[in-house]
């Protein structure tokens, strides 16, 4: 096996957490490429994404769900957006939905139900329903790590750990630095970074009308929660100021 020499081999200590690192050079190119560009989508380091052991499953699942060509077009668009110093706001609505589905897969281990418009636009042949591609995918979901938890029913932290206060979640700037990510908006349709102390209801889940509703189809929370001690000043969603027009010529699929 020939391992191509890379500049990274010389100065591994200067690399940010998000960088592929020397190990990546031993992996198939497309998997390295996939993980590298999933770092800004997920907010997790390449190390974390590799460690799930599910990257191949996710790439295959996304290709099957979106279609080989359409996924390739999305991937090209996303890489171009990154190269040009943009965030997800540069993606078309359909590509934005594909990006969300891919993140949902990384975060929960399940492929979600897509917006019907995107489902139709992608001309998908499979049913637009949520499913878990493998039992191990659920176990590797990243969402649990956002609040220093663990997947329910796996990776137990030990007797009595639930009695201890968990650490605070890291801030956005700290994450960007650690992951070596560009200082661009990692949001669409929102005026500014969402302040954690004042999360608007439309970014929170509402009641699940029945247990049969899959998590990706749960509606957002009611706009005005009942009166409490906390003042109410939600971040208003920005009018469709985000670029909805195709950003790249390859947008034929959307």
């Amino acid at each position: 096996m020939t391992v191509p020499a890379s500049a990274a081999d010389d100065e591994p200590h200067d690399l940010p957490e998000g960088a592929p690192g020397p190990l990546a050079t031993q992996l198939p190119d497309e998997l390295t490429d996939f993980i590298t560009h999933c770092v800004p989508l997920t907010g997790f380091a390449a190390f974390d994404l590799h460690a799930t052991g599910t990257a191949r499953l996710y790439l295959d699942t996304a290709r099957r769900q979106v279609g080989e060509d359409r996924f390739a077009a999305f991937w090209t668009a996303w890489k171009r957006a990154l190269a040009e110093g943009h965030g997800p706001e540069a993606l078309t609505p359909t590509h934005r939905e594909v990006a969300r589905a891919l993140i949902y897969l990384w975060y929960t281990g399940a492929w979600p139900r897509l917006a019907p418009a995107a489902h139709a636009d992608l001309r998908r042949e499979s049913a637009n329903t949520e499913f878990v591609p493998a039992p191990s995918a659920y176990v590797e979901g990243l969402v649990w790590r956002t609040f220093h938890g663990h997947p329910a029913g796996a990776k137990p932290p030990g007797f009595g750990t639930w009695a201890v206060r968990p650490p605070d979640p890291p801030g956005v700037a700290e994450l960007r630095d650690r992951l070596g990510l560009a200082d661009v908006p990692y949001r669409t349709g929102l005026a500014g970074e969402v302040p954690p102390e004042d999360i608007p209801a439309h970014l929170l889940p509402g009641q699940r009308l029945s247990r049969a509703v899959p998590p990706s189809a749960v509606p957002t929370a009611a706009a005005a929660p009942e009166a409490t001690g906390t003042p109410e000043a939600p971040v208003t969603p920005e009018a469709p100021a985000a670029p909805e027009a195709p950003a790249t010529p390859e947008e034929g699929t959307s």
């Binding site: 997920t42 929170l204 247990r211 409490t228």
Partner: protein
């Protein structure tokens, strides 16, 4: 470990006792009778397999890959012995006024005004395979609500009668609890009593609430009474550390099928539907301790109980199957001196109705109960930091003060569980948090949503919006109402094997609805005191009401409310002293048939606000003692000449 035989093998001989159902009640009864040397046959309708480690891992991986992680998510569907599932219910869009707001599409046929949103599991070990493991004792006044508060039904037993049986049951279940607290609560009266294991630590969420609320006083405006809050730890059938002060050295039992595993809870936080290490107690442990005189046959669906014209029962008819997906079966007959139905409240009623037995009172199937549970959810303030949801057992503490006392006259009592699993039950969190923060799934018109967060901003947002989730699950007492019932209609509704499906007619009466109403107001006040933002919402959404939705008005205040089922099916063959108004006596023997018992939660005339398993186990142990006496009496040598001996001293116990 007990011998498992085929359906044919099971039919080969006569038994002292046949037990229908291999769940908690049947398993503890078989253990006791078997230990006394009686030949016992246990017939389980569902599949076995989880008593082996590979079989158990299969259930675990079924749970991991389920999209909807509901209580039955870890267990495969079985058409031959179908189980109800909470996924069988769906809300109706724009319902007509006064019409039911739901449809039921599964094992249960439902024709009531409100949905019976509770499931159970027909599988070796029964619904105990997915239970939480909460084992609070019932309060003394729970046993006499009719005479004390003028609602519901009284028991023919008192809390004091059950004290020794509760203690026995806690030993069999393996309970970790804080004896001193339970004594202060008034449910443990023996001052020397200790639980087998030290209590499970209170979660950080419990401490968070406790610290911020202290002994705050909350006004219940419905009951018009002030209530001082104080958290009590929940006694749980979950392995912790053996208590050296327990009455005898306690050896912890862990996983069945894998030695030296699961001997302490490690915080998997998935007790419902499955504990991966089996630190949560389940009936397979008791089954592993069955002596050789107990015979088990799985995949044996009892269809009827057979009786003679004089009223004694002779045995049961049952059918077996090979492929659970397309059951083709033949019928068998097993005979015994005593038949015990221990198949779940609804299954017991179904069997009695189909067999045409024990129904002189007309009460078989009536008084169906559950604990309608109100979910309340809120975000703790960011300034207070994360609260650490989705960790540890489902709940470790509660506020008990609303359970008893004179407030019960005005409204049904309730028990407030401080949830440890965030908004999971109410909203599908944390998965639904990911979906809504990303903005996936489209807007109302199906278009791609413009708003959403990604990458580091998503990670930060979720850290906060999930990390601060509080949920209060409030279980409200439902009292006996003969109109809430199980019936059958074999001409119209049968399952794939030809057995009649249960038809449920269910509603909540005014007293229960007012209890849910009061509980909602109390939860609002608790969230206010915590400075938390209350996101609780039970109103219809785009014309679709949530399951269990109803509108209730008290003192000119009107609320949209919705309840969930708690999985606490009870009250279909209630006990009493009068054969005209009850199905079984205090020993759970049917009034009509001297050798037919119906045991389980179905025997309870009321269930208070306690998760019913512990009380069910106490009753089962009490019945085991009586059945032993029955069997022994039947075998006593014939007295040739009249003797001047006194009556059997054990028989003196009068059934209240």
């Amino acid at each position: 470990m007990t011998e498992t035989v085929s359906a044919e093998g099971a039919a080969r001989r006569r038994y002292d006792a046949i037990i229908v159902g291999g769940g908690w009640a049947g398993s503890v009864l078989a253990k006791r009778l078997g230990a006394q040397g009686w030949q016992v046959l246990v017939l389980e309708a569902g599949n076995g397999g989880t008593e082996t480690w590979p079989g158990y891992l299969d259930s675990l991986s079924t749970f991991h890959s389920a999209v909807a992680k509901v209580p039955n998510a870890a267990y495969r569907p079985n058409k031959a012995a179908p189980s109800p599932n909470v996924l069988d219910l769906a809300p109706v869009r724009d319902p007509q006024a006064g019409e039911p707001e739901f449809t039921a599409n599964g094992y249960f046929v439902q024709d009531g005004q409100l949905p019976y949103g509770t499931d159970y599991l027909r599988e070796l070990g029964g619904a105990a395979m997915h239970w939480l493991g909460a084992v609070p004792r019932m309060l003394p006044d729970d046993f006499a609500t009719r005479s004390t508060y003028s609602y519901g039904l009284d028991w023919p037993l008192t809390a004091e009668d059950l004290q020794p049986w509760y203690a026995e049951a806690e030993g069999e279940l393996g309970v970790a609890g804080h004896a001193q607290e339970q004594k202060e609560l008034g449910v443990v009266t023996d001052p020397a009593y200790e639980y087998p294991m030290h209590h499970i630590p209170q979660s950080y969420i419990d401490q968070y609430c406790d610290h911020r609320l202290g002994d705050a006083v909350i006004d219940d405006t419905v009951a018009q009474l002030p209530y001082a809050l104080r958290t009590f730890g929940l006694p749980q059938a979950r392995n912790s550390t053996p208590n050296p002060a327990y009455r005898a050295p306690y050896r912890i039992q862990g996983a069945v099928g894998l030695p030296n595993y699961g001997e302490r809870c490690v915080g998997n936080a998935s007790c419902v539907p499955i504990c991966p290490v089996q630190a949560k107690s389940h009936p397979l442990r008791l089954q592993a301790a069955w002596p050789p005189s107990v015979t088990l046959a799985t995949r044996c669906v009892v269809t009827r109980v057979r009786a003679t014209s004089t009223g004694t029962v002779t045995g049961v008819e049952y059918r077996t199957y090979t492929d659970p997906a397309s059951p083709v079966s033949r019928s068998y007959l097993a005979e015994a001196d005593v038949v015990v139905l221990a198949a779940h409240a609804i299954e017991n009623a179904r069997l009695l109705l189909f067999s045409g037995l024990a129904n002189t009172s007309g009460q078989v199937g009536r008084n169906l109960m559950d604990h309608p549970t109100l979910l309340n959810w809120a975000l703790a303030p960011e300034a207070g930091g994360p609260v650490g949801p989705f960790r540890g057992p489902g709940h470790t503490s509660g506020w008990e003060v609303f359970r008893g006392g004179p407030g019960r006259r005005a409204r049904a009592p309730f028990r407030i569980e401080i949830g440890n699993w965030g908004w999971g039950w109410a909203t599908g969190a944390p998965m639904s948090n990911v979906a809504t923060a990303l903005g996936i799934g489209g807007d109302k018109d199906g278009n791609v949503r413009p708003d959403g967060v990604f990458g580091p901003e998503l990670r930060r947002l979720l850290g906060s919006s999930i990390g601060r989730q509080l949920q209060l699950q409030i279980a409200v007492e439902q009292s006996a109402d003969p109109g809430n019932r199980v019936t059958i209609d074999p001409a119209r509704y049968r399952d794939a094997m030809g057995n009649p499906r249960p038809i449920l007619t269910y509603n909540l009466d005014e007293h229960v609805r007012t209890g849910l109403f009061a509980a909602r107001l109390v939860a609002q006040k608790i969230f206010q005191r915590l400075g938390a933002t209350d996101y609780t919402d039970h109103a219809p959404h785009d014309g679709v009401p949530p399951l269990g939705h109803f509108v209730h008005t008290v003192d000119e205040q009107t609320l949209d409310l919705a309840y969930s089922g708690a999985g606490h099916g009870a009250g279909t063959h209630i006990m009493g002293t009068d054969p005209k108004s009850s199905v079984v006596n205090a020993d759970q023997r049917t009034h009509d048939h001297p050798n037919l018992y119906a045991i389980g939660c179905g025997s309870m005339p009321s269930i208070g606000t306690s998760n019913p398993t512990l009380t069910m186990m106490a009753l089962a142990l009490r019945s085991a003692a009586q059945i032993h006496r029955d069997l022994a009496a039947a075998r006593r040598p014939v007295t040739v000449r009249p003797a001047a001996e006194p009556a059997n001293p054990e028989k003196e116990k009068v059934t209240a």
